[in-house]
């Protein structure tokens, strides 16, 4: 069984390597097509938010319906600090992340006493209130008219103005983000989080400080979202509050659920599927119904969403994981069964 495990790990490593190769090579496959690249960049940004959310949802068991608020905090912090205060973009990005973490801390302390639906609702409320802030705090955010003229991000003094370098930058963030999340999941912290999911009182009695971990993860997910927001601001250079209201929050949640919150890859896969599905519907629906407008896409999207979740309640990664486990487990599973049988019956008497 040890051997099987090692073999599975080997396989996984190859798979990861292949994935990385595709990822790096992708721009060359779609060479020169900035449209595809920007789609990929958007996927990357969503994936960053989503990865933070998988930690929060899949491992800390907490639903957030207000994640776009943190995305917004990052975006506005970067926008304001670079455009109006003249800070370098990287510093602004870091400041945004710190700010988002602080806000998460302040919000999280009271909110995490809540559970399930109530928690979801509280985060929704938080999202609406932050949206109101973005809307009304015109001096900083430009209000509903939007914030434009955000300077591009610079690396070693060179502004990143085209899509290709930006794609690699975002990919780097995503990979680092997933790596970080994966490490957490496979550590004492991740285990503690999943334990909280299973039984709070038991985890607590075993020494797991529930509030601390929930808060830390909430803050971490806020940092992920905020970084993505900062990058977005520098990428599109124009932001407005509508990007950070409850509807985007709901979309983030949808992505994570499609991808499956049970794995740190859920954010990336969910974002990719979500965006591609949208693009695909845009291409396919007009073929089926030539005169249909975007509303048909919405109907189809809703239907697909419902069907997908009925059949894959744990998202795509859930399905993949199950297949993977079955593939690798049948071997030692048999061994365990025979072993168990022996120990239960045989040794008695």
């Amino acid at each position: 069984m040890e051997q099987d495990q090692r073999m599975a790990d080997g396989w996984k490593r190859w798979l990861l390597l292949a994935g990385a190769a595709v990822w790096l090579g992708l721009p060359w496959l779609v060479f020169g097509n900035n449209y595809v690249l920007s789609t990929l960049i958007l996927i990357g940004l969503y994936a960053l938010v989503g990865t933070g959310m998988t930690l929060l949802m899949g491992y800390a068991g907490q639903i957030s319906l207000g994640q776009a608020a943190f995305y917004g905090i990052g975006a506005y912090a970067s926008a304001y600090l670079t455009a109006h205060a003249g800070w370098p973009a990287w510093l602004a990005l870091a400041a945004g992340a710190v700010l988002a973490a602080l806000v998460a801390l302040v919000v999280g302390i009271p909110v995490f006493r809540l559970r399930e639906h109530y928690l979801a609702l509280a985060t929704l409320g938080f999202g609406v209130i932050m949206f109101t802030f973005f809307k009304e705090w015109k001096g900083i955010t430009g209000g509903l008219n939007g914030f434009f003229g955000i300077p591009p991000i610079r690396i070693a003094g060179v502004p990143l103005q085209s899509d290709l370098p930006f794609y690699y930058l975002v990919s780097l963030f995503v990979l680092a983000g997933v790596w970080f999340a994966r490490n957490i999941v496979r550590s004492r912290v991740g285990r503690a989080l999943r334990a909280i999911h299973g039984s709070e009182v038991a985890a607590n009695s075993l020494g797991v400080n529930i509030t601390k971990y929930k808060l830390q993860i909430f803050m971490l997910s806020a940092v992920y979202a905020s970084i993505a927001g900062s990058l977005y601001a520098h990428y599109v250079t124009f932001i407005n509050p509508d990007l950070f209201g409850i509807v985007p929050s709901i979309y983030f949640l949808i992505m994570v659920v499609i991808g499956g919150a049970g794995s740190v890859w859920g954010g990336l896969i969910g974002a990719a599927v979500y965006v591609c599905l949208g693009e695909w519907l845009k291409a396919v629906v007009p073929l089926l119904l030539p005169d249909a407008g975007g509303e048909f896409e919405i109907v189809f999207f809703g239907l697909l969403l419902v069907i997908m979740l009925i059949y894959m309640p744990n998202g795509l990664t859930g399905v993949a994981l199950k297949g993977w486990r079955r593939f690798w487990k049948t071997g030692w599973r048999r061994q365990v069964d025979s072993h168990k049988a022996r120990s239960i019956g045989g040794e008695r008497g």
Partner: protein, 256 residues
């Protein structure tokens, strides 16, 4: 009395009108195995809940390792070296048996979110240690072959054992067991008794609730009897078995 590991003094708890525990005092010395018995609803679990910090008492105090622990949270107590099992099983049912037990090792590790996230050597070392400890603990209790099973699918009796392993793996100085034998047949109980006795040899201290009198008589050094929230007797097993109030309230006439 200050040599006591755990001292409970005039501990009380009332839920609205229900006086679940009333002025209960007793102590547990290091290395001792103390049983709490009493009829259903006598307040045993409530007592455990107060000692382990799950609910606050309405009166009285608890001292653990010489310090007052009233108002401390369960996780703080776990850090101090007190863990417990639950009468209504509280396993992490979606995790494997091994992982369940590894969570029990939580207090022995220090790695935080950053060392974990960046995969610092500390985190890796600790991870390995936790796994080894958990596995050897499972071996001791005879569950090693189930290490990779999902805890939720195990039969009821086995789940109890996993909970015990989980509570013991961090080698706490005191373990509270709430009906450890429930769901095991006499033969299996006997095996568990052996495990518990072996653990005592290693220096574990137990405070436990149990209805299976055979077990209680076999392993308890001292028994505390509760009835309607009050302590009605305390003493060695033989004394308790003869105690008229205990027989009347709990054991029945022709017991053991």
């Amino acid at each position: 009395m200050s040599a006591m590991l755990l001292e409970v003094e005039r501990l009380s708890k009332s839920f609205g009108g229900v006086q679940a525990v009333q002025d209960v005092s007793f102590g547990v010395a290091k290395g001792e195995m103390v049983a709490v018995i009493g009829p259903n609803g006598a307040g045993k679990t409530t007592l455990f809940n107060m000692i382990s910090g799950v609910i606050p008492p309405t009166g009285g105090s608890v001292r653990f390792q010489g310090g007052v622990i009233n108002g401390k949270k369960p996780h703080e107590l776990a850090m101090l070296g007190m863990t417990r099992t639950f009468q209504n099983l509280q396993l992490f049912s979606d995790m494997t048996v091994l992982e369940n037990v590894m969570v029990g090792f939580h207090t022995r590790l220090t790695g935080g979110i950053f060392s974990a996230g960046f995969r610092l050597p500390l985190a890796r070392r600790e991870e390995k240690q936790a796994q080894e400890q958990a596995f050897s603990c499972l071996e001791q209790i005879g569950l090693a072959h189930l290490a990779w099973e999902r805890a939720g699918t195990l039969p009821y009796g086995t789940q109890r054992l996993v909970e015990i392993a989980r509570a013991a793996v961090s080698r706490p100085s005191l373990i509270l067991l709430d009906e450890p034998m429930a769901g095991l047949n006499p033969q299996e109980s006997k095996q568990l008794v052996d495990v518990l006795l072996a653990m005592r040899e290693q220096g574990f201290t137990f405070l436990f609730v149990e209805h299976d009198m055979e077990t209680v008589m076999a392993i308890a050094d001292r028994i505390v009897v509760l009835d309607y929230g009050k302590k009605i007797a305390e003493g060695a097993p033989e004394e308790i078995a003869r105690h008229p109030d205990v027989i009347k309230a709990y054991l029945g006439e022709e017991a053991v």
